[in-house]
Symmetry: C2
Subunit: 151 residues, 2 copies
């Protein structure tokens, strides 16, 4: 991204900061990762993330409050709940996938990624890539510029 | 992502978790966002993020330790340093862009995004999208499956 001295044009609290305020916490990311792997129940998420019950309760409550997860009863007697991704939550999938790919490339302890994604639409092992919606070319930081939206 | 009962195949610590262990902290995300806006100097980053000097020092040290930022002298007398993204750091750009787009869509307080990205390669305002590298179709969570890599 080309950067000039236009920092003063930046909005006070931008969308990255607002996104981070909702999900930028280690436990929250691990809960979201688990949600994408289909973990919906408190005990399963606790086991998988290693979070303490207090922390897990707190983060789940926040995620429900932000409308990223919703709490649904799946059993009546005794009443039991599970946590499911809302549309807002599911829409985080591409960002989580890119964090995973980055983790594969830069933090791996072996030279093959530990998980292969399969794109069911085409049936192939997929390495998702971010492209420009106008020209279809891959997005690289050096090719990007930005301007403040005008109102 | 279709999820079956294959959770036991999941690696103990996957790439999402390793990525989050390096960058999954509110201040770290804000420092990275600033880095992509060209903020390189301690005082500028402090002003922009609102982090206390202690927290900022700690996070910058960790980012340098992980090889995401590098510390370079830009002045000799008195010696002054700046923090620049490494290749590993620059490679986080697509993930940060998707978090920003998600923030635009789901956390905005007005109906237009506060920042417009411009793809210099094609010269147009760009809404980057994640696609499959095999077929070029957009990635949606429901179209994805995964399998553990075999060694």
């Amino acid at each position: 991204m080309q950067v000039t001295n236009r920092s003063d044009d930046r909005p006070e609290q931008d969308s990255v900061e607002r996104a981070i305020d909702q999900i930028g916490d280690r436990w929250t990311f691990l809960i979201l990762r688990d949600a994408f792997f289909g973990q919906r129940r408190f005990d399963d998420i606790q086991k998988s993330t290693g979070a303490s019950p207090n922390i897990l309760s707190d983060r789940l409550k926040k995620l429900v409050g932000f409308g990223i997860l919703e709490k649904r009863a799946y059993q009546d007697r005794p009443q039991r709940h599970e946590y499911r991704l809302t549309e807002k939550g599911r829409d985080l999938y591409p960002a989580i996938v890119l964090l995973m790919r980055w983790g594969d490339r830069w933090t791996g302890e072996c030279d093959r990624p530990p998980l292969t994604l399969v794109h069911k639409t085409c049936g192939k092992a997929s390495a998702p890539v971010l492209v420009c919606d106008e020209c279809g070319e891959a997005i690289h930081v050096h090719d990007m510029d930005w301007e403040a939206a005008r109102y």
